[in-house]
């Protein structure tokens, strides 16, 4: 694993948009740190102790609630608060050198999502067979430099930008994607079906299947997490252009929100940009 260090320049923003009465999106950016300072030792090669000092992780989460009568707003809020509580309680900073530890760490991140799913059912009620109750998407990235662990449910998205090329890390969990993955629909058929965009997996919904992945980032990369209020109204090309041109994470977020509003603003829009600034 590389020893290069970076400064993380992260910023998040949410906007109600132009057509919705409430904002059902939520986001959170947190740092997690574990500091162990070596004060004195008789061990001659003390590098192992130095490796433990100042480990730091970053947690980025966006969630897009669905369900009337403030249900969606409560679902996304419950998901984020539950997730943060679980991670604070149960997930340790992981140094990335031990594969068994890494799998355990990934299971803990998934466990946090399952716990949030359970809390939505418990606190906001079972959505029942019709799946009409409060539910939420959730896209989470835990960055333990240089590795970014991604746990994802629903149709919010995580991207990363490298050398001017935007790559999508997540796959939408919608009915359309679900049926295309099974070879039932072609892309053309999915485009014509109104239900193709319906969520096939969400926290609080009858189906909740987190997908898990990771990517090793490099200095100069930018992470982007967003709800579909951005991607439905702003093209990937325009997103790329903004991320490449922005001087910092805050201006990137502000410009992308403006672009979503200029593109119609038909939904709440929420995003997090995190730039890996060479240190």
């Amino acid at each position: 694993m590389t020893t290069t260090t970076v400064r993380v320049d992260a910023f998040g923003q949410t906007d109600i948009g132009l057509r919705r009465k409430t904002n059902e999106d939520q986001f959170v950016i947190m740092t997690l740190s574990k500091a162990a300072e070596l004060r004195q030792t008789s061990v001659q090669d003390a590098t192992v102790f130095q490796e433990l000092s100042g480990q730091e992780g970053w947690l980025f989460v966006v969630a897009d609630g669905v369900g009337g009568h403030r249900g969606g707003e409560l679902a996304s809020k419950t998901a984020i608060t539950s997730l943060v509580q679980y991670i604070g309680r149960a997930v340790s900073c992981f140094s990335g050198v031990d594969p068994d530890g890494e799998h355990q760490f990934l299971e803990q991140l998934e466990g946090a999502v399952h716990e949030a799913h359970r809390r939505i059912f418990e606190e906001l009620g079972d959505s029942g067979a019709g799946g009409q109750g409060p539910a939420t998407t959730l896209t989470m990235v835990m960055l333990m430099w240089p590795r970014a662990y991604v746990v994802h449910v629903g149709d919010s998205r995580a991207f990363f930008l490298r050398n001017g090329r935007l790559r999508q890390l997540t796959q939408d969990q919608t009915t359309g994607e679900f049926l295309m993955a099974r070879g039932v629909w072609t892309e053309e058929q999915a485009r014509k079906m109104p239900i193709a965009g319906a969520l096939a997996s969400a926290l609080g919904a009858p189906e909740m299947k987190p997908s898990v992945g990771l990517v090793d980032l490099q200095p100069g990369d930018t992470l982007l997490l967003c709800t579909d209020g951005l991607t439905k109204f702003v093209s990937d090309e325009r997103i790329t252009e903004v991320l490449v041109g922005a001087g910092d994470a805050e201006s990137a977020c502000r410009e992308l929100v403006e672009a979503a509003l200029a593109g119609g603003g038909g939904d709440n829009v929420t995003l997090i940009a995190a730039r890996m600034v060479p240190g």
């Binding site: 070879g183 992945g213 990771l214 090793d216």
Partner: protein, 169 residues
């Protein structure tokens, strides 16, 4: 529970993700979606009465923009190399990929899946070429589309990962 990390390595478009989809979810789709970074899936199974979980790391394939990221291979217990039998050039890069992977993963058990075996009319590997490959690799012909050979490829690796010394002797 015993967990074994298995990495999928190969050139882009050889069907690594499709093999995982077939093995884990019994699904297949013709649609091609390139993997970005690593996608992780798990498959629980029982070998000789011993339960184990394969943690499958489906690595983005090597393409003209990016090579494989070798740091993903660290700590692997086994590697499944995947080549596309209808594109001989995907086999020609195997030795190079193996050298890269060995640097990171060490000398762990491997299997080579010659994928897309259902495409008989487009198959580009002559019997001689396959024999030459078989001298260097443990080969399984697979088809993510029909499922042929898929379970065999993963189970061979699982068995070898469970008893690595025996598998490599």
């Amino acid at each position: 529970m015993i967990q074994k990390k298995v990495c999928m390595v190969g050139v882009f478009g050889t069907g690594k993700s499709s093999l995982v989809q077939r093995f884990v979810h019994s699904l297949f789709s013709e649609r091609y979606l390139s993997t970005v970074g690593v996608k992780i899936d798990r498959k629980s199974l029982e070998l000789d009465g011993i339960p184990m979980t394969l943690v499958l790391w489906d690595l983005a394939g090597r393409d003209k923009h990016e090579d494989i990221t070798v740091s993903y291979l660290r700590g692997s217990h086994a590697v499944l190399y995947v080549a596309d039998g209808t594109r001989k050039e995907t086999c020609d890069q195997l030795s190079e990929l193996r050298a890269l992977a060995r640097d990171a993963a060490g000398d762990v058990p491997t299997v080579l899946a010659l994928n897309k075996s259902d495409l008989v009319d487009s198959w580009m590997l002559t019997p001689d070429y396959e024999s030459a490959l078989a001298a260097e690799w443990e080969i399984v012909r697979t088809s993510a589309k029909t499922g042929a050979g898929v379970e065999e490829a993963f189970l061979r690796l699982a068995r070898a990962a469970q008893a690595p010394k025996r598998a490599q002797s």
